[in-house]
């Protein structure tokens, strides 16, 4: 080490990581791909990713309002920042699509970019994925996993060193496989009832044994005698699990899974899909309004020659594939980032997650930019007539646009 100061910092960091590793490890992260429902409003479930997207909209509207409240010719402060971002993207738009189309495409491109960008960055704020309600676990409302929370002052906290309880779902279904289908000569309704009773009994058994092992409760599940499927035995097991859960609740703890109020918007596949659908609708709209319905449709259904016909069909499939690749690119990147941060925080609680936060800020803006850029490029492809002169047009655009734009940039 060069200086004692650097040495002290390095030693301090290592000690901090070791302390975190030994004493502050949280439970194994629970990875949920489906967005969690916070509350059901009539037939519509209000999911946490939607709440987060509403938050993004509120932030964007507030920023837009504040930036445009009093507009000066010489921008300063917030107006300056917003103008700089818009101008950067506007220049790219003009350079790629040319003056006329660039101005047409710009509002949509900018909306997509800012919406995804702010959503991705907001997902890195500390209250995302951290505060929420606890969805309880018992023999009826069963999950395959559960964490014991300590319940202090009305806030559910994950106790450090708390292990995740995993219940063997396969074992439960296997134990009740006998009742899945009625054998000849048996009453179907009775067998179905037996199956239900067996499943809840086995779930109760799983919860009771896990809690007895890990939390030291006395459920009395061992005192139940009988075979799975017998009503009395199953009821006894459910009672045992209820008793164990009551016992840990008396200690001020809760058994369940955290349902956060906020979760990164793009980790739910529905949001990237809806943005992608919107983008594709705009792309088709631009194509049709520029070329006309028949000429645009001629790109996909071309009967001039067998080869062109086949190419048209391929183009059509590629058009649909864009939707899927749009969706999965954004969804996958954001989900992967979330999982990466979770796992890193789980492995070593302090410091190690920091560089990954840096990576995620980068990925967040890059993915927003990629989404916007692809919409722009597909838009340019849609408005250009098909055939051989497509490439020439690109070359022209590339050469003309900067030259045409130079005076605007200078002034």
């Amino acid at each position: 080490m060069k200086s004692p100061k650097t040495f002290a910092i390095v030693v301090g960091a290592v000690v901090l990581m070791l302390v975190g590793l030994l004493f502050f490890r949280g439970p194994k992260p629970v990875i949920e791909i489906k967005a969690e429902t916070i509350i059901d409003i009539g037939p519509f479930p209000l999911v946490n990713t939607y709440v987060a997207s509403l938050l993004v909209v509120i932030v964007l509207i507030t920023v837009a309002f504040l930036a445009t409240r009093k507009i000066n010719l010489i921008p300063s402060g917030l107006q300056n920042v917003v103008e700089a971002v818009m101008e950067a993207l506007y220049n790219i738009c003009i350079n790629t699509a040319g003056e006329k189309n660039g101005r047409r495409f710009f509002p949509v491109i900018m909306t997509i970019f800012t919406f995804i960008w702010i959503a991705n960055w907001m997902a890195l704020l500390p209250f995302f994925n951290a505060i929420g309600t606890v969805e309880k676990v018992n023999a009826e409302e069963f999950h395959n996993q559960a964490i014991v929370f300590s319940d202090t002052a009305g806030i559910s906290l994950i106790k450090s060193n708390q292990k995740l309880l995993e219940f063997d779902k396969v074992k439960i279904t296997a134990a009740c496989a006998v009742f899945e289908t009625a054998k000849p000569g048996e009453d179907a309704a009775t067998v179905e009832k037996q199956h239900e009773s067996c499943i809840s009994g086995q779930r109760g058994l799983a919860i009771a044994t896990k809690l007895d092992q890990k939390e030291g409760t006395d459920s009395g599940a061992g005192a139940c005698h009988g075979a799975p499927g017998e009503a009395e035995y199953d009821e006894c097991l459910v009672h045992a699990s209820d008793k164990a859960i009551e016992e840990i609740e008396a200690d001020g703890k809760r058994l369940g899974l955290l349902v956060p109020y906020f979760r990164s918007m793009n980790t739910d596949i529905n949001s990237p899909l809806s943005i992608a659908i919107m983008a594709m609708i705009f792309i088709e709209f631009w194509g049709i309004t520029t070329l006309g319905v028949f000429k645009y449709a001629g790109k996909f259904f071309n009967v001039s020659s067998p080869i062109n016909f086949f190419v048209g069909i391929l183009e059509f499939i590629a058009e649909l594939a864009r939707l899927i690749s749009f969706t999965f690119r954004l969804f996958g990147n954001m989900l992967a980032g979330e999982i990466l941060l979770l796992v890193m925080t789980f492995l070593i609680p302090f410091l190690v997650a920091l560089p990954f936060y840096g990576l995620e800020t980068f990925v967040g803006i890059i993915q927003a930019f990629v989404f916007a850029m692809l919409t722009l490029v597909f838009g340019v492809l849609a408005v250009s007539a098909h055939g051989d002169h497509e490439e020439d047009e690109h070359g022209e655009d590339g050469e003309h646009a900067p030259a045409g734009h130079a005076p605007a940039a200078a002034h």
Binding site: F328, N333, I366
Partner: protein
């Protein structure tokens, strides 16, 4: 117990195969994008060496290309995560 009763249980309880599948999915799925990203960056650096003035254009296009290549790895990751946590 006869064999017919055990077989379905065996097929269901062999959860290890599931994780092997997930590992293979992301392992092979990450291979090609890794090559692609390496090639892209290498060529971009070559281009930069020849023409340093074109840096902004090259960089933007490189990052776009990388994002495309990376998307393939991300698809594999989504599949792996689904195998691991959903099914």
């Amino acid at each position: 117990m006869d064999i017919a009763a055990i077989l379905p249980l065996l097929a269901f309880t062999d959860a290890g195969l599931k994780y092997i599948g997930a590992g293979i999915a992301i392992g092979l799925g990450g291979l090609a994008p890794a090559l692609a990203i390496g090639m892209l960056t290498g060529k971009a650096m070559e281009a930069l060496g020849r023409n340093p003035e074109a840096q902004p254009v090259i960089q933007t296009n490189m990052i776009l290309g990388i994002a495309f290549a990376e998307a393939i790895a991300i698809y594999a990751l989504v599949v792996a995560v689904m195998i691991g946590f959903v099914f």
